[in-house]
Amino acid sequence: MFPDTSSDATLKQLQPYHAQLREIFSKAVKKFNQIEPTLLLPLMRWDRSRAICIWAYAMEELSLAFPPGSEVQLIEKYGTLEVHFGPNLVARLKKMSANGFTSNYATRRIREFHSADQGELFVLNWAKPLRIDIGYRLNDTSTGVEEVMVARRKSLGIMDWFYHITTPDNATSFPLAHPAAETSTEPGVRIEARQLPENQQQESTGTENE
């Protein structure tokens, strides 16, 4: 029996987890943006460092969202976490472009992941699991998640389908870490009673009365 590889089938299967998936990326981006801005600058300057940092936070959030014993299993493999939504659906979390592709260099493992006939054993090897990417796209200033998408490729360079979990209309952004506008604690300026000539002290208004 061949698995249903349609987007409708995947959507139906993932629907119960959509909120959690959105949350994983939202929180990851939020954590990333809470890095102190001077430290954040070099990470933000390069797409690669930005993606790796957010990915690392996403892995952390993923582990928190689906702890051991959950219906969704996380399997550590090749230095990443594969997300198993049952025996027939495997996902990885990625940064994505607007058309659902990722920017990975085409290694053998990546080719295998997207290959229709990849031979890697799974729990039930009679039904090859559907392999999908669940990814995010940042907003224009990388301060929030513009959209979260689910994509399936037929092969490395051919997109089968993708759909959005979020749309730009409900894109999320967060309060960011800002250096506080610290006010000096040392009084650099002070106010004193004006010293008036003695003959004016009686007449002046507001003379200090201590």
Binding site: P37, T38, L40, L41, M44, R45, R50, L138, N139, D140, T141, S142, T143, G144, S173, F174, P175, L176, A177, H178, P179, A180, A181, E182, T183, S184, G188, V189, R190, I191, E192, A193, R194, Q195, S204, T205, G206, T207, E208, N209, E210
Partner: protein, 352 residues
Amino acid sequence: MSEAPFNAEMLTLARMSRSVTQAELAERAGTTQGRVSKIEHGLLEPDAGLVAEFGRVLEYPSSFFFQPGYMQTLPSWFHRKRKHLPRTILDRIHAEIAIRIRNIGKLLQATEIKAEHEIPQIDVDEFNGSITDIARYLRERWGVPRGPIVNLIDLIERAGALVVPCDFGVSEVDAVGMRLQGMPPLMFVNAGAPTDRMRFTVAHELAHLVMHSLPNDDMEKQADLFASEFLMPEIDIRPQLQHVDLTVLGVLKRVWRVSMGALLMRAKQLKVISGSKYTALWKQMSALGFRRREPAELDLSPELPRLLDSLFVFHRERLSMSVSDLLAMFSMYERDYRRLYSSTNHRLRLVS
């Protein structure tokens, strides 16, 4: 009736502060425009009944019109830079600043501000016309460490300037700085402006206070250049402006506490980015609406002036003055008092 003579300038000031024309005032006070005009020009003295009517219409106590002094003029460039604004709006802002100046003058009658530094007056020629050198010199003179200025308002107040938050009611007026005889340097800033914009404007006005005791044709460009170097010193920011895009500008905004637009212009000013990249980024920002309003999530925390607040606290706590006393001293009603000083003076309680 006060023993002091009626002061025609106070009538003009009160009328301008309410954006009321002479004709409107005349109609509502039951007199003629000609009579109001003559009174404002000092050619006629109003009787007590008419003064009371002026007070009723303009919502000032009669004592307001018997205050001595004149209406403070604003720097010549204030009006020149804002020619496109209606005259009534400019007059209202002018009048409001003039009233604030009068009130500050009254607060300072009994107090003195002792500051750590001062805002010097520098002749540009002393620095061979190098505006950036003047900005660097001032940072050094004030002991500002390298890198971003975390709180510009605090720095300026430590130099003895009074920063006065105002609600000008229009976004076109960000700040007005001025030096007046017998007073600390004053800076009236639009409290409604975003922090990044307010900081650049304050640095711009600081430049005027430092360099422009006399106006010149290049003064606005000079003030912008000063503000750029003062807030974003070339030596520190140049390497950070390499390879900028919107994302990097967003982080730099949080680091340097200036707008993405100011950073982009600085990158061009320092020739760190090409003209085409500069144009492309501006277009991108325009398309996203960032030129009107930069992303809310990048809004900076406010920098609140404290010195004016301290002056009020001093009067309350050290001079035992109630709000009622202050209202009498300022010759204004409580509503105006709350409107003018609510942002700085929230710790004062009304003593009935």
